[in-house]
């Protein structure tokens, strides 16, 4: 039994080289099965009714919160459920916009600065850009090296800096960022540290305490789980201080006609309305898998990086395999990324093409878009071999006679 056998998708598509796991991973059979069983036999509302099925559903749901916390090295009360990582970052940025007390460590006001790395995904960039617009704050970007690695944070972080957002692993460059070092500098300046963990958790054991992160998020569908589900991590004292910004059932203790409602404690105050319950419960087996999988992907990364020696290939990211995950974005001289991916598709290889929700990073590299091959725990060497063979054939196909 190989890791691949745990994923029904590959039995249905045995001949496809699926190299787009950074966009969405395939789902574990155990995840699909768990959701099916819950929905068909145990479905009940959580956090309200008192009959035994409802109690069991609530318990399973809360167990997953605990598992997510364990996976990140956090406590259960530090994890809020959300619809996606995008949902979690919107929740965070919107809630920061609700902070009224100028003395709060979470207050962002006129002239304050929000510092982002250039490789932030649009799901981090845009919520914070909107927050800065509403609050009269300024968005600034950290410099990057030619290989797209974040640098210069010591000089960039200052007393105006209120938020520093650096994703742990870029979905474009495949490089891990030194979040711990950046966080130490940010904390010295009194700023909070936000880190997008969507890609990182697929490739490493990410510990939010070791990295010294204040807020983070990841989505379930990129780590073998269901879509429609994401998680927000917030360091306990800060999560307590963060106001709710999405209101409704389940998040409230008591509501009156003539005074402001009293909301539940964190993290439940962030979970208005019925949560994606069956998806959350189905995430349990994915977390078990994440705890048990092998994390050694260096062989796949090394093979993938052989693309650099193919004529016309320019890698958007570090060329060395150190401190890197098997995510490779590249430009191919004379051939547009759409044509590269179309050519690969016709030969049984699924790769991403476009700006990958990271337009700022692409502009910094001087390319409007790129092609990306991304691997993860179930990827196999033959997929990389086929990708490399095809990559050598792309320019001759499109540029013949030139």
């Amino acid at each position: 039994m190989t890791v691949r056998d745990l994923f029904p998708f590959f039995a249905a598509n045995p001949d496809l080289a699926y190299l787009d796991s950074a966009a969405t991973s395939q789902k574990l059979g155990s995840v699909i099965e768990k959701e099916r069983i819950f929905s068909s036999s145990f479905n009940a509302p959580i956090h309200r009714s008192t009959y035994s099925l409802a109690f069991e559903a609530t318990e399973e749901f809360e167990n997953v919160r605990g598992k997510v916390a364990g996976f990140l090295g956090a406590r259960a009360e530090e994890i809020a459920f959300s619809s996606s990582a995008t949902g979690a970052f919107n929740l965070l940025a919107n809630s920061l916009g609700y902070v009224e007390d100028p003395k709060s460590p979470l207050f962002i006001g006129e002239g304050d600065e929000i510092l982002l790395s250039r490789s932030e995904h649009n799901s981090v960039l845009l919520p914070f850009q909107e927050l800065s617009r509403r609050r009269g704050a300024k968005i600034r970007f950290l410099p990057m090296t030619e290989e797209g690695e974040v640098c210069g944070w010591k000089e960039a972080i200052g007393e105006k800096t209120k938020v520093v957002a650096v994703s742990r692993l870029s979905n474009v460059t495949g490089a891990f960022a030194p979040v711990r070092e950046i966080a130490q500098e940010a904390h010295r300046a009194g700023a909070i540290v936000v880190s997008d963990l969507c890609q990182a958790v697929a490739h490493e054991r990410t510990d939010v305490k070791a990295l010294d992160i204040d807020f983070a998020a990841f989505s379930a569908h990129k780590v073998f789980g269901p879509t429609g589900l994401g998680f927000l991590y917030g360091r306990k004292p800060l999560l307590d201080l963060l106001p709710a910004s999405f209101f409704g059932g389940s998040m409230v203790e008591s509501a009156w006609e003539d005074k402001r409602a009293v909301y539940k404690k964190a993290p439940w105050k962030f979970e208005a309305g019925t949560q994606p319950v069956s998806q959350a419960i189905a995430m349990g087996p994915a977390l078990d898998f994440l705890e048990s999988r092998s994390l050694d992907e260096s062989d796949l990364t090394r093979r993938l990086l052989e693309a650099a020696s193919i004529r016309g290939v320019k890698i958007l990211g570090p060329a060395s395999e150190d401190n890197r995950a098997p995510i490779l974005s590249f430009a191919l001289e004379g051939v547009h990324p759409h044509d590269v991916s179309q050519f690969m598709d016709a030969h049984g290889v699924a790769v991403r093409s476009g700006h990958q929700c990271a337009q700022i990073l692409h502009r910094s590299f001087g390319f409007p878009s790129s092609t990306r091959a991304s691997l993860c725990a179930y990827s196999e060497p033959w997929e990389v071999e086929r990708f490399l063979d095809l990559l050598s054939a792309v320019r001759p196909y499109f540029l013949k006679g030139r």
């Binding site: 990324p337 692409h362 409007p368």
Partner: protein, 152 residues
């Protein structure tokens, strides 16, 4: 790989290389004193490709189309073939060709392309790939915008 050669027909691959009408600088070259220039730009948000276009008209007819931009093979070939096809056409004929091309893109690759489209009928294969229709249409919608912006 029948699908691939259906999409990238020889005439398309050739046109992508030749890129008729592509200019480094849209203001290079002299326009005839009796002609009028209209400009428009187009953008494909899925890949970030941009095209800037200058349409030179004399009376009711299109004298010359020049464009600037980098795109995929489909986008570039479509611009090139459209540039050739529109040469000397009246505004009305151009808009009617635009409609024919739009219909071709909506055809899901079924049926036959109208004869009026000439080489542009090679894009019938693109209609089977919904993700690529925007690539083929970029130049055409930009031209339409330039022509209609004119009338306003």
């Amino acid at each position: 790989m029948e699908d691939l050669s259906n999409l990238y027909q020889e005439v398309i691959l050739e046109a992508a290389k030749e890129a008729h009408g592509r200019k480094e600088d849209l203001e290079g070259g002299k326009a005839a004193s009796s002609s009028h220039c209209a400009y428009a730009s187009g953008f494909n948000p899925s890949c970030g490709d941009e095209v800037e276009m200058k349409v030179e008209t004399e009376g009711e007819s299109i004298r010359k189309i020049a464009w600037k931009g980098e795109g995929c093979a489909i986008c570039t070939a479509s611009l090139s073939i459209m540039t050739d096809l529109m040469q000397g056409k009246s505004r009305k004929e151009a808009l009617s060709l635009y409609k024919d091309f739009l219909k071709l893109m909506d055809s899901r690759g079924e049926g036959e392309a109208p004869e009026s489209l000439k080489d542009a009928s090679a894009f019938i294969g693109v209609a089977r790939f919904p993700m690529r229709i925007k690539c083929a249409l970029l130049g055409w919608t930009t031209l339409k915008e330039a022509l209609e912006g004119e009338g306003k």
